[in-house]
């Protein structure tokens, strides 16, 4: 089956998803939503990797998605653990209330 979708469509889709994640990090205060926005950005790069892997006929792009997935899983585990440890001290999800390290 011949795929007729131009590569630039995939790149624009990936750019839109990435920037949505970026705007989410900028405008939200909820820590959970910030972590979800980071997931969005990682997924946008994955779409790009797989699209290039298909169009350049090189399977290495898919291997890199595998590594990005590993890093995403590790990031979620550590991020949520930090959040739970913080929540025990300050029961809040608002990032603006966590300013312990502010000078």
């Amino acid at each position: 089956m011949n795929n007729l979708v131009p590569l630039s469509y995939y790149m624009i889709l990936s750019g839109v998803v990435f920037l949505t994640g970026l705007v989410g990090v900028l405008i939200r205060r909820n820590i959970i939503i910030l972590l979800l926005s980071i997931e969005l950005m990682l997924n946008a790069t994955n779409i790009n990797f797989v699209a290039f892997s298909y169009y350049l006929h090189d399977i290495a792009g898919q291997v890199f998605v595998f590594f990005a997935l590993t890093v995403a899983a590790a990031e979620v585990a550590v991020g949520l653990a930090i959040f739970i440890a913080l929540y025990r001290g300050t029961p809040s999800v608002n990032v603006e209330e966590f300013n312990l390290m502010k000078g």
């Binding site: 900028l26 997924n43 995403a72």
Partner: protein, 174 residues
């Protein structure tokens, strides 16, 4: 056929991405991210990356989002929280960056006409499946990064356990 399925997946992905950011209730955000991951997996299937589509569903939808839902429901985070004060600055910056991205992509010469005469690895007519090709490359050329990835997972596991556990009571010497 190909372009219609692409537009279906792309529309749902963009809508779900916006909903993830816009919903005030974190549970709704997680659910719409789940829908997004399934559609990204569909996009991977249409790009002949079947192994990654399966891994996307198993790891992202099965493991990562369940972890998020656990935390959201365990801590009962349904309280409404407002946006930052600078919502419109953030959205404006995002729109400006989006314009830049589209401009750059439109200007770039992306048609891979010069590249299609290379030996096709992804869609070659050989008997080898997608999973076999990924596995072969992962265990030969990318063996060292693969080991590093396993080390990252080990460190993340130890870190998560250490960070999330309660402080142990002091052991008293008798």
């Amino acid at each position: 056929m190909g372009i219609f399925s692409f537009f279906y997946f792309a529309t749902v992905i963009v809508l779900c991405a916006i909903l993830v950011v816009a919903f005030r209730n974190p549970v709704y955000s997680v659910i719409s991210l789940l829908v997004l991951f399934f559609h990204v997996a569909g996009l991977f299937v249409s790009l002949h990356a079947e192994f990654l589509a399966a891994v996307q569903i198993i790891v992202y939808a099965g493991a990562i989002l369940v972890l998020y839902l656990f935390v959201v429901m365990l801590l009962n985070l349904k309280r409404d929280d407002s946006y930052q004060r600078q919502v419109w600055i953030g959205v404006g910056l995002g729109a400006a960056a989006l314009g830049e991205v589209i401009y750059l992509i439109a200007k770039a010469k992306l048609e891979p006409a010069a590249l299609v005469n290379r030996v096709s690895q992804v869609t070659s007519g050989t008997q080898e499946g997608n999973t076999e090709m990924v596995g072969r490359l992962l265990y030969t050329k990318y063996l060292f990064p693969f080991e590093v990835a396993s080390l990252i997972l080990l460190v993340a596991m130890i870190g998560a356990i250490l960070l999330a556990k309660k402080a142990l009571p002091e052991v008293r010497d008798e």
